[in-house]
Symmetry: C2
Subunit: 396 residues, 2 copies
């Protein structure tokens, strides 16, 4: 196990009917609120009205930034910063999933950034300055952004999507009400769960030895997601399923399963290029890439961990290690497909291979996967993994 | 899953060679330090000297409270409070295991408590006042006190041992260096691990439905302890074993496996009376009680959870649920015995049954096990469990 810090100060308010606590929470920071959200789903669900009841009663001055897209854009961040400056905003209140929260984090920090935000904030990748306080109301179990200090921002003109990390980006308070995810449709529920699994898998397949605590927790959270995603798809209003998916999403990326390990994530680096070029759903891109990545890196060195994955997560009792590993990858692939996730690039609209080489180049350029991945990947590796994503896969 | 809060702000510094960070940490709070420790083990190990190098270089004014006993006494707390007041202490620095940290928490809070500390602090059970900042240096993997807001204090005259909880008791920073546990002897290593397992088990066997995240994490941490305790006993300097035991101990009682569940713990209520009457090692008392408690409450309602415990933790593949459950309890009992833990009360010096009835009375009186236990226990139940602790047990 590597040395690590764990200092995650977000105040989590988990469960139903907690919104009455919002006023007290906001009053710690001030009256001027930037409310950030995406499409109209929070209006349809009634959450928007419920929220305004609270904010009006509390005498908050509310400015709205609506229409935050999935894969949030630097332009939206700029718009939010302007609203904060014009309205002397005290606290940023994202109501949504990871994109809305990530965009809010970038806004909260960028208020304090001079000059060009892309150059002076995103490209820097690490941010050590201050930020406005962030209070989140989560409506999608997926990214874990509600309890970490990372945001991912896209520049669609330059076709670049990058993550930025900073301690001040950590939300002060996050409201996690599983009933707020009842209205998430099957596609986004499955994509969100694929995202949760991806965070667990990126940390689990790691070369640092002696990290049993982290690996056991990762396995436990994977099994939880695999148990409850099908339940949530069948019964969108199943509280137990939504609650376990939500809490698993938060814990999957708050440091519990990653701290104490070194090395860089491989599949997110590859997916970020897909999203940057084609603006696809992040969780779906990961679901497509991960099984091919697993197949690509399976060799005598990696077989033991894949065998453990097969046994512990998928109950594979095959004795031959390589065969067990392959069956585990196949089960994972089949599980994702069975949850309605499109499992090839053409199914998400990427019909040609023309950008694969350039994306492979950039995936290596924008990350350290060629030196610090679980198995280091060069451009040829990445291109080969992308090509395998063009058609159905079989691993056994 | 029940609604819950999770707000655990302790700044964990995990790993080797982190003590150079201590000066900066202390300087956030002030120069006057109350150093709290137990026996001479930190002098033998060299940690005491290393610490003074840091504190002297940093210009700290250090007051010492040495000799904190296991099951820390209210009198020691009073002594510490007096030292704090006389020396205008800014920060309390426990260097030790759970007893030293618990004593320090009680001191840090009691500085602000008027009048009799037992009456106005311990008996209250919940503390909402302020406390001096606490920075811990952990030397034993056991209680989890380094990352929670609870302390347990004993009044040996009245033979009472009670826990107090308060947000302000949460340590600000905790240094978790696994090498500081290399010198812990086999007996204390095993007792500490029994304590970790007890925290996981008390939360795991709980009547709240739909808590898969918590249960999976509890299982993962149990398996980690069961894997690494024998390694640490064989090779006291095995870093991986000590690191996993240490991090498991912290996560076992910081809310991760308990939040979202309601109901009260059963075995700690029973053990606290044993410690209060006979001053035995807490983890050993728990190791003796828990398997008998399991045997006592095993019935058709509880069999499913015990069957899962047997399968997931002990790999029992017996198909008959009751038989599987019994084998699981037996494996647990045998494991504890194989680690050198005395498994009967006479082995820890409790030769007669004369106090069992009174202890059973008090265990019920001092807790809510008769109404809110996983299986509610009345005085007869508790006495029967205590009696079963007088001789070797068999569960199959």
């Amino acid at each position: 196990m590597e040395n690590f810090d764990f200092h995650v100060t977000t105040d989590i308010r988990f469960g139903k009917d907690r919104l009455s606590e919002l006023s007290d929470v906001l009053n710690n920071f001030g009256k001027n609120v930037l409310l950030v959200y995406g499409g109209g789903s929070i209006k349809k669900s009634g959450l928007y009205d419920e929220l305004y009841d609270q904010l009006n009663q509390n005498g908050n001055h509310v400015v709205e930034l609506a229409g935050v897209d999935p894969n949030p854009r630097i332009e939206t961040v700029q718009k939010g910063v302007q609203l904060c400056k014009e309205n002397d905003v005290d606290v940023v209140l994202p109501v949504g999933g990871g994109s809305v929260i990530d965009c809010s984090k970038a806004i909260a920090a960028s208020v304090f950034v001079e000059g060009d935000l892309w150059e002076n904030f995103v490209i820097q990748r690490n941010y050590e300055g201050p930020a406005l306080p962030i209070v989140t109301i989560l409506t999608l179990a997926a990214t874990g952004s509600e309890m970490n200090g990372t945001c991912v921002i896209s520049n669609m003109d330059a076709q670049i999507k990058l993550g930025v990390h900073g301690k001040s980006l950590l939300p002060k308070v996050s409201f996690l009400d599983p009933t707020n995810t009842y209205s998430v449709n099957a596609y986004q529920t499955a994509a969100g769960s694929a995202d949760i699994l991806s965070h667990l898998i990126e940390n689990y397949f790691n070369a640092t030895p002696g990290t049993e605590v982290q690996d056991e927790i990762a396995e436990g959270l994977m099994k939880t997601v695999i148990k409850y995603l099908p339940v949530a798809l069948d019964e969108p209003d199943n509280y137990t399923a939504r609650a376990n998916l939500m809490w698993a999403s938060t814990l999957a990326l708050n440091g519990l399963v990653g701290n104490g390990k070194k090395g860089s994530w491989s599949c997110h680096a590859m997916e970020h290029e897909l999203s940057a070029f084609y603006d696809i759903t992040h969780g779906v891109g990961l679901a497509i890439i991960i099984p091919r990545w697993m197949g690509h890196i399976l060799d005598e060195n990696t077989i033991p961990k894949f065998q453990r994955f097969a046994q512990e997560i998928w109950g594979v009792d095959e004795e031959d290690p390589k065969r067990a590993a392959e069956i585990g990858i196949q089960r994972f692939y089949d599980f994702l497909a069975s949850c309605g996730i499109p499992m090839t690039l053409p199914e998400v609209g990427i019909q040609t291979e023309e950008d694969l080489q350039e994306m492979a180049h950039r995936a290596v350029e924008h990350s350290s996967i060629s030196t610090k991945g679980f198995v280091p990947l060069n451009e040829d590796d990445v291109e080969s993994i992308y090509r395998a994503c063009m058609e159905d896969a079989s691993f056994v």
